[in-house]
């Protein structure tokens, strides 16, 4: 196995390092530390952050890719696998024939078989789901036993996290003593984190124990484990949400700053560009661009070493296109704010003392806009995750071979009209998406409340009325 770097892998890791650098600057700066402290005082935000961090960890595990050599390839469907695939073990390559219900031991549809020399038509046993059971009536008992073992394992893991949290809290103690706002102080946020971790650990323990021997969420049409698909879909969703914002930021910031600061014809041109882009219904612009991209990809089939790289490039372009259509909002926001700020005394003073425009823009205006940018970033994330599902459903989203919630939902259309109904893929996509988007929304709310002075005011006045 050789480590290999896909385009999106490189970008996502770049983003992680960027975030770490940002975290460092937050810790150094008392003002932003105080604002983030407010975020971490919120119970809901802290709990959501735990869920989001779990998603990030899974995404990062899935963003380290390995290229298999030819003799290792037999198990896996593609020549490039991720560390997550390795960690999940058999889940990644075990394939049933077709649909099977969650935790089932037999397939969903009947098949002709030979039992004791006589042809019988019955539901065949699965190749992997519950094969270790010699007597299927023991399934309930086996599940209970595994759940028990999983709970114990989860509890051990939880204890480990508790110890880690305790150490962090001890390290934070001096900050609290100095009366600056530390993380996890007061208002029950610490408890919220502890209990979220508890639920996740126990649930994770039970599910992983079950997943060793069963298909926890059933299998899809070609027999791939749905739980595995849902985990892989997480990377696509996170990538769309994160990378798109990353690609949007520089354009949106530069355009907004220039339009607001220079005014005149620069403003006119930039306003014209974003009105034009805005006036195209985004789904159509995206569809048209992806369509064109598809033509280009089909015209150059030799440019890619494998289908994985091709799918990856398509994912990257989808992020870029989504970014192209969504920088307008940020630019407009920044333009409005800069128009207000450029008349303020400190900017006038800087200009009077001969500071260059570039310096004013980047060291005086930009730092004062950071909260707006941050709010816009976290608020956009969940919208992008939802947009990906819709686009993939329409057929202009990710490559059909990429695991994503959109493609899962798309498949569900036919599955729901089957008899018996195949509901588990849809439910899995629903639950995973809901958890991700909900926690992103809740976290974004807390960030906005903490960084937007107006929202804070609103909250205080609410208490008063």
């Amino acid at each position: 196995m050789m480590p290999t770097l896909l385009l999106t892998d490189a970008l996502i890791w770049l983003l992680v390092f960027g975030l770490l650098a940002y975290a460092r600057s937050v810790i150094k700066n008392p003002l932003s530390r105080a604002s983030w402290g407010l975020v971490f005082q919120s119970k809901i935000a802290s709990a959501s952050l735990v869920v989001l961090l779990l998603a990030v960890v899974i995404t990062l595990l899935d963003s380290v890719h390995l290229r298999l050599n030819s003799e290792q390839q037999s198990r896996y469907a593609s020549p490039i696998i991720s560390v997550l695939d390795v960690a999940l073990g058999p889940l990644a390559y075990e394939r049933e024939k077709s649909y099977s219900a969650p935790l089932a031991t037999r397939a969903l549809s009947k098949e002709s078989m030979e039992v004791d020399g006589k042809p019988v038509r019955d539901y065949p046993r699965l190749k992997f789901g519950g094969v270790h059971l010699s007597d299927e009536s023991n399934k309930a008992q086996d599940l209970l036993l595994r759940a028990y073992q999983g709970t114990l394992g989860g509890a051990v893991l939880w204890a480990f996290f508790l110890a880690a949290l305790w150490v962090i809290r001890r390290a934070m103690a001096p900050a609290v003593a100095q009366n600056s706002i530390g993380v996890f102080t007061g208002s029950g946020a610490y408890q919220a984190v502890v209990w979220t971790l508890f639920v996740l650990c126990i649930l994770g323990g039970v599910v992983s124990k079950w997943a060793e021997a069963y298909h926890v969420l059933g299998t899809d049409k070609v027999g791939v484990d749905v739980f595995y698909i849902a985990l892989k879909g997480l990377r696509t969703a996170m990538l769309i949400g994160l990378l798109t914002t990353l690609l949007t930021l520089p354009v949106g910031i530069a355009m907004g700053l220039a339009a607001g600061y220079f005014r005149g014809w620069v403003d006119d041109v930039i306003q014209y560009i974003y009105t034009t882009l805005n006036s195209i219904p985004s789904v159509l612009l995206i569809a048209a661009t992806v369509l064109m991209l598809q033509v280009a990809l089909d015209a150059n089939p030799d440019a890619f070493a494998s289908s994985v790289e091709k799918a990856d490039l398509r994912l990257f372009f989808l992020c870029a296109i989504l970014g192209l259509t969504s920088w307008t909002g940020l630019a407009r926001l920044i333009r409005g704010e800069v128009l207000k700020m450029r008349e303020q005394d400190y900017i006038l003073a800087a200009r009077a003392s001969g500071v260059s425009s570039v310096k004013i823009l980047f060291s005086h205006l930009l730092p004062n806009l950071m909260h707006l940018i941050l709010i816009a970033m976290v608020m956009d994330f969940s919208g992008l995750v939802l947009a990906e599902a819709v686009l993939s459903y329409v057929g202009v989203g990710v490559d059909p071979s990429t695991f994503s919630y959109g493609t899962m939902i798309n498949a569900a259309r036919l599955e729901l009209s089957r008899d018996p109904v195949v509901w588990w893929s849809l439910v899995a996509a629903f639950v995973f998406m809901l958890l991700l988007v909900l926690s992103a929304n809740l976290f974004a709310d807390a960030v906005r409340d903490a960084f937007d002075p107006r929202a804070r005011q609103l909250k205080q006045s609410l208490v008063r009325v």
Partner: protein, 325 residues
């Protein structure tokens, strides 16, 4: 005001030209007229003569953006861009890949689309305002808190799930309404009722929460305190004063909803088999029919620009302080 409107319309036309240029450049970035001809005639082994003939018949034998051989205005006029884009402004969209007239198709499909989008828009606006006023009335109580939590939950669910869930529950399990289809007569309501309800419900979470924030912001202003001091009841304050002033940001927001409405219909039309513009677009996207996609982009942006101008007019009606100049 009329001179303002004229200016806005002219600016809108300029924007539409830009939209056209973007889609045009995007397309010809990856496609040449030769490619188009080969694709239409089928296969790579088509003689150059027939390719040339196809191009001549459809006017693709001209240069793309700038014709250096032509004289005067012809330098810009005798190009594919000019010949294919300018007719769009007078409603001539050419024909789709399967040879049908796009303008005729659009005229035929606009009816069903509007029958779905307009009720969704109006009902949605009404329900959002009523619900958010209720939450504002009970602000700070557990009812308000529960409402907000439900809103966040509702807006975290992808619109696709509302459609799939609603269709499964009401059409398949309860068999109250047909799953999909359309009827050109008044009977169409049976097919429209479920998509309309789903369209309204899926927008409820985000809308209500947003309107609530707007109303809460209004409620702290001085004029509201004055109104209360006069002895008006809370219902009167909310219903008459706060609502009227909150309407302005709501109107602005509604414009951004118009293209979204288009997108919402895009999905639900194809799900419910309503022969509107949305399903037409989806089909065109899936069959890679560029002519149709381009026409729909044009119409979508035109709608958006009309919406922008309408908002300005609505502004003056809702708030007499606003003067357009």
């Amino acid at each position: 005001m009329s001179s303002y409107l004229v200016r806005r319309v002219l600016y809108g036309l300029l924007v539409l030209l830009g939209v056209n240029l973007i889609t045009f450049v995007l397309f010809f970035q990856v496609n040449s007229p030769d490619d188009m001809a080969r694709m239409a005639l089928g296969g790579k082994r088509v003689a150059q003569e027939s390719v040339d003939q196809w191009k001549r018949e459809r006017g693709y034998d001209l240069p793309l953006l700038y014709n250096s051989q032509a004289e005067g205005v012809g330098k810009l006029g005798e190009t594919i861009f000019f010949q294919k884009s300018v007719p769009m402004f007078v409603g001539e969209f050419g024909s789709s890949d399967d040879g049908r007239n796009i303008a005729g198709e659009i005229a035929k499909r606009a009816g069903p689309s509007l029958a779905l989008a307009v009720p969704v828009f109006i009902l949605g606006l009404f329900l959002n305002i009523v619900l958010s006023l209720l939450l504002t009335f009970f602000r700070g109580t557990y009812l308000d808190l529960t409402g907000v939590v439900l809103c966040v939950l509702a807006m975290s669910i992808s619109g696709l799930f509302y459609i799939i869930g609603g269709q499964y529950l009401f059409s398949k399990t309860l068999a109250l309404v047909p799953i999909s289809g359309y009827d050109a007569s008044v009977e169409a309501w049976r097919f429209l009722i479920l998509p309309v309800i789903i369209g309204v419900v899926s927008g409820l979470g985000g809308g209500t929460r947003w309107y609530r924030t707007i109303f809460l912001e209004e409620i702290n202003k001085d004029y509201v305190r004055t109104a209360r001091a006069k002895g008006l009841s809370e219902v009167q304050v909310l219903g008459r004063h706060v609502l009227r002033n909150g309407l302005i940001p709501i109107l602005t927001g509604s414009v951004t909803v118009i293209p979204l409405l288009f997108m919402g219909s895009l999905i639900s039309e194809s799900f419910f088999g309503i022969p509107g513009l949305g399903s037409y677009t989806i089909e065109a996207i899936q069959s890679q029919d560029f002519g149709v996609v381009r026409a729909m982009v044009f119409i979508g942006s035109a709608l958006y620009l009309v919406g922008l101008i309408l908002t300005d007019i609505a502004y003056t009606i809702a708030d007499p302080r606003v003067r357009l100049a």
